[in-house]
């Protein structure tokens, strides 16, 4: 029950941030991919099945908010949630470097996938396309790591419940 409560709370916060503060930032050119951030954080905490479910629900909510291409966020975030959930069993999840790489990789993949739907500019559009993906990656990844560190400090313990915090690399 508590897990479902957390699930709903995390989804609500991510969607609220996306539609208010982060939307204003995006119009100024600062893109923070909160959907990926929430999915990766959740998947690191939970199992792959939970990660995929969280990604699917969050993605579907974001898709319904958009007028076109329903399913594009849901598909990408499902796979990211599942992938990160699987990897979290074999990675040192408490390591900031691991988190940085995971969030950066997931953000880049999500941004490439989402931008591909709008890419109509051919080769001319490539610099802008690459710039957008890079910008989102370099802003989202450090912010994500900082948030995870902050959460850990506030909780005063490792936030990852389903395995020891310093599991061995596989």
């Amino acid at each position: 029950m508590r897990a479902i409560g957390m699930f709903l709370f995390a989804s609500l916060v991510a969607l609220l941030l996306r539609s208010t503060v982060l939307a204003s930032l995006a119009t100024r050119g600062i893109v923070i991919d909160v959907l990926v951030l929430a999915t990766v954080t959740w998947s690191l905490r939970q199992s792959d099945a939970w990660g995929a479910t969280f990604g699917f629900v969050l993605g579907l909510a974001a898709d319904l908010d958009a007028s076109h291409w329903i399913g594009r966020h849901a598909l990408a975030l499902t796979l990211i949630g599942y992938g990160v959930g699987r990897l979290s069993n074999t990675l040192v999840r408490d390591s900031p470097l691991t988190q940085l790489v995971l969030i950066a990789l997931a953000t880049a993949l999500h941004q490439i996938w989402v931008t591909a739907f709008d890419a109509t500019g051919g080769v001319q559009g490539l610099p802008w396309f690459a710039g957008r993906v890079l910008l989102a990656t370099v802003t989202t990844a450090p912010i994500g790591v900082l948030l995870l560190l902050l959460t850990r400090l506030l909780r005063r313990r490792g936030g990852y419940g389903h395995a020891p915090g310093t599991s061995t690399a596989g």
């Binding site: 699917f56 319904l64 007028s67 598909l75």
Partner: protein, 299 residues
Amino acid sequence: MASLLPPAERRSVVLVTVYAALSLVLLVVGERIPAAGLRGVGAALFAPFDRVTGAADRLFNSWNENEHLHERVARLEADNARLRLMAAENPHLREQLGLTAWRELPLKPVEVLALGGGEPLPDAATLSAGKNDGVEVGDAVMTSDGLVGRITESWGTLSRATLLTDVNQAIACEVETTGVNGIVRFVAAPRPRLVLSAVAISDTVRVGERVVTSDLSLKFPRGIPVGTVTRVDHDATGLMQEIEITPAARMARLRHAFVAPGPRPPADGVPRPKLEFEPDPLSGARVPAAYDSTGRKVR
């Protein structure tokens, strides 16, 4: 029965496959799903949280905004004094020319509760007024600076506006000083920008000129500022111009807006352009007389 269930790992693979298949199906048939109702439910659920977040955001920015608004009020008061003089002589001149009187736009103030939709730029906004407040699909949404978008979904107490940044939005516009007509649309690639297209190469458009909604528009009232020309170029065919414009409304600062009623669809549902000298029933302006080549009145 339990023995038939796959082990945990296989279960999660099945789960992911189901989610992925569902997402792919939605990608294919999603456009046919009537999502407006679902969005309405979502907007109603999120509205209280959006209001709280919005209030905190406004509080945070109120000092700067207050300073900016004071400066703007002072500037507008000076403009207003000059415009009042012009407004006094304008009706006489229009009457002499046989032009219809300008119809004032009844503006309804609304709050922008949330932005959403597009990636990375939002292309839709949730507004704090809906059908119960007289907000209808097709109404124009604007700020004091200019056009923001158009109402595309209206529920009881909330509505959803599609912003200028939606790639499917096309607005009939004209260059204010020269009357050159074109269509403003948002282009996402190679970089996001507003473009005034379908302007013949022979038409003269200069950087710095203002672009406003045209009388030819079936969706928007005439004369709402849309943007300013920042770059004039040829399109890929070399036959038309591609004019880049900066939006008049500050899309990064959408907190309050106004809804102006757009043209309502006719009873038969078939949209048609307005006649050039259609009399305005509100003002009672007369239809200008037409003359033939010998100078005789023909109607």
